[in-house]
Amino acid sequence: MPLVHSEEQTLLREIARDFISEKSPTGELRRLRDEPDPIGFSKSLWKEMAELGWAGIPFAEEFGGADLGHTELGVVLQECGRTLTASPLLSTIALGGTAIDLGASEALRKEVLTGVCSGQRILAVAHQEQTRHAPYATETRATKTPSGYTIAGSKTFVLDGHVADQLLVVARTSGSSRDRNGLSLFLVDAETPGITRTRTLQVDGRNAARIEFRDVEVDGQRLLGEIDRGAEILDPVLDRATAGLCAEMLGGIEAAFEHTLNYLKVREQFGTVIGSFQALKHRAAELHVEIELSRSIVIEVQQAIDSGDEAVPELVSTAKARLSETAFLMGNEGVQMLGGIGMTDEEDIGLYLKRFRVQQFTFGDASFHRDRYANLRGY
């Protein structure tokens, strides 16, 4: 497949860019941050996004979805990334919805995805327990009961966990911490007794929750896929969400680069625009090269997911490592090139720097993914 967007995808991008730049410029993130908004994203914006069909992009038409692919989801996420738009696209569509779609029974899919596609239902995936991404490092336990399971443990960094209607909880049903085998996925209503959620306020103005599970009871019907084999769902879900995140990162990187480049062209010092200084020119050109490579791997990984390519895990790690490195470089160069003004809260580049850091550490940083890639490639 050619590594370019189709006409339909390009059209979707244009629509998304128009919508996002009108409804959700970076000022919207500032508003949510500074008020501060109790939820951290705009429910009315999310409703509008759902009406545009974005909440249902990768899901079947029978649930109200658009039956498109992750490439299309990536197109929208990339545009959202440009203005740092906060929305449940990652938590509810790329993570939660995808998990339901890949792992749930037909009945459960209908029940959950219909609400997801209409923008009514917010989902969150509760997997992380430690200070860093480690998908199988799970000590939260689910213990069999006559009618189902009892979940006990605590989770951290649950994206949109504080407002989710339902949680997908990764719990250990056998094996020991760090084993890939023995994990199971459960769909749990967020209001179930025994669940305590604490919203955290992150440096990027977004939020993730810490969630305590104190003997939370869940019906046996709410198990996704097979018992002990939750990783078979979790892995592809994380791959898809990571690819989506990479698209969002690319959008942010592109916008930050354009913004920085523009500053280089107008800011005068020593009687000339600073963009004429060769040292800055070379650094800008190097950034451009890194961004070009980032563009290629982002579209490649999305297409690979949609075509069922078996190299998806390797490609996802390649993409996340590269986008993390490029975002790191872009954030730092952006602030440095903007100089003093780049250090002020009123300048947008700082918002990008902060969002980039959170993105770098979400679903594993570059170092994590190089390690994973080496494992996948057998060294």
């Binding site: 200070t131 306020l201 010092q269 020593f270 100089g339 250090m343 002020t344 550490f361």
Partner: protein, 400 residues
């Protein structure tokens, strides 16, 4: 025992008895320090102990150890001052006062000021009574400092200043400002600049703090409208302020790099201990080999930097030319501080992503904000690019 060793013993004893226990910290972290001045902001509690420590140091002139006694200093030799610094560090005593007056303005005034100016301004600095801020940068004049536009007009019996300054650190609490102004708009840009001293406590001065990406506001924007300065408030000749200004920048860079941007290197909050805590261990080693490699690299770089500061001082003492060492220090200290900031939040993982509120230790929030604040290190006080330009030109002799 030679004289210096005897001085060391006496100094140690004096510190032991004079610096309150509550201010002392083995981690090397500053606490209890004041910026001095009429508004006397104290960085940390307990404030009384901080003032006590200050008053005892003032008694001996130890806030400005190398300044002559007549200006409130202790008249120490460089070697003695080094001993004082070393012993305070060893005993965990914070500097009694940290101020731009001590680090930058005072040394410049000693070199370029009139006797009257020294008499008037130095003793209050040495006593921590009057604090100074630096009026250099302007919105349109950042790295290209000499393109500044703040006007200074001669009104016969005084000067009148109108314009705006930016990045004035501590302008909201400072008593006075040493300020670069354009005194001759018709002259070539380096030849129409003067350095003038402005009392900040007068009508026409407006100060507005700037909020940084880290959430703090260490800098201000300062607006002057028809602000008054006396005729004797010029440092150096009228229109001849650029030479003085450059010298002052050297002191600034020295101050920045000797105070450094570094946090604790030993104790439980030292990076290796944090790495063990947040990344886990394996055979007693930090479990993440990449983080461990970065840690060792950072610690080694920091060591080599410190050795270079020491060596440069030793070379200067031995009479060797160390002309632009301050640019080297400023460049390296700020670049290293940024790397350190990145490594610290990397060690913390997702706990290094917090802004405020529940779910994060205050220490973790602090690391995140320090990381953000560190991004400014390579911008303030002359960008890294400016330092590299200086090194290329002055040290390496590469042409424009």
């Amino acid at each position: 025992m030679n004289e210096l060793e005897q001085f060391r013993e006496e100094t140690r004893e004096w510190i032991e008895t004079s610096c309150p226990e509550s201010l002392r910290s083995s981690t090397g972290q500053r606490s209890g320090t004041t910026m001095g001045g009429r508004r006397f902001p104290v960085f940390a509690e307990p404030a009384e102990d901080s003032h006590l420590w200050l008053s005892r140091a003032v008694e001996r002139g130890y806030c400005a150890p190398t300044w002559p006694r007549e200006y409130g200093g202790a008249g120490l030799e460089r070697a003695q001052a080094a001993v004082l610094r070393e012993e305070m560090l060893r005993l965990g005593a914070p500097p009694p006062v940290v101020s731009m007056g001590l680090l930058m303005f005072g040394p410049t005034l000693l070199e370029f000021g009139t006797e009257e100016q020294k008499q008037q301004h130095l003793p209050p600095i040495a006593r921590g009574e009057i604090s100074w801020c630096q009026g250099y940068s302007e919105p349109g004049a950042g790295s290209d400092l000499a393109s500044l536009q703040t006007r200074c007009e001669d009104r016969g019996d005084h000067y009148s200043i109108t314009g705006q300054k930016i990045w004035t650190s501590g302008a909201d609490v400072a008593d006075w400002m040493f300020c670069l102004v354009r005194s001759d708009p018709g002259a070539p840009k380096h030849e129409g600049i003067s350095l003038i001293l402005i009392d900040m406590n007068q009508p026409g001065v407006r100060v507005s703090p700037i909020k940084l990406i880290s959430g703090s506001s260490p800098f201000c924007q300062t607006f002057f409208e028809e602000v008054r300065a006396e005729k004797n408030a010029l440092v150096g000749p009228l229109h001849g302020g650029w030479t003085v200004a450059k010298r002052l920048l050297q002191y600034e860079r020295q101050g920045i790099s000797s105070s450094g941007f570094m946090g604790p290197t030993r104790g439980t909050d030292a990076p290796p201990e944090l790495a063990k805590r947040y990344c886990g261990t394996s055979d007693g080693k930090v479990a993440d080999p990449i983080i461990r490699d970065r840690l060792a690299r950072m610690e080694m770089d920091q060591h080599c930097f410190n050795s270079t500061v020491r060596r440069t001082a030793d070379e200067a003492r031995a009479g060797n030319d160390v002309g632009t060492a301050s640019s080297i220090f400023k460049y390296k200290a700020s670049e290293d501080a940024k790397k350190r900031g990145e490594l610290m939040v990397a060690i913390l993982g997702t706990q290094g992503l917090g802004w405020e509120g529940d779910g994060y230790e205050p220490f973790e929030i602090d690391q995140t904000r320090t990381w953000l604040r560190s991004k400014g290190n390579s911008i303030e006080g002359g960008t890294s690019e400016v330092q590299l330009n200086i090194i290329a030109k002055r040290v390496l002799g590469l042409p424009d």
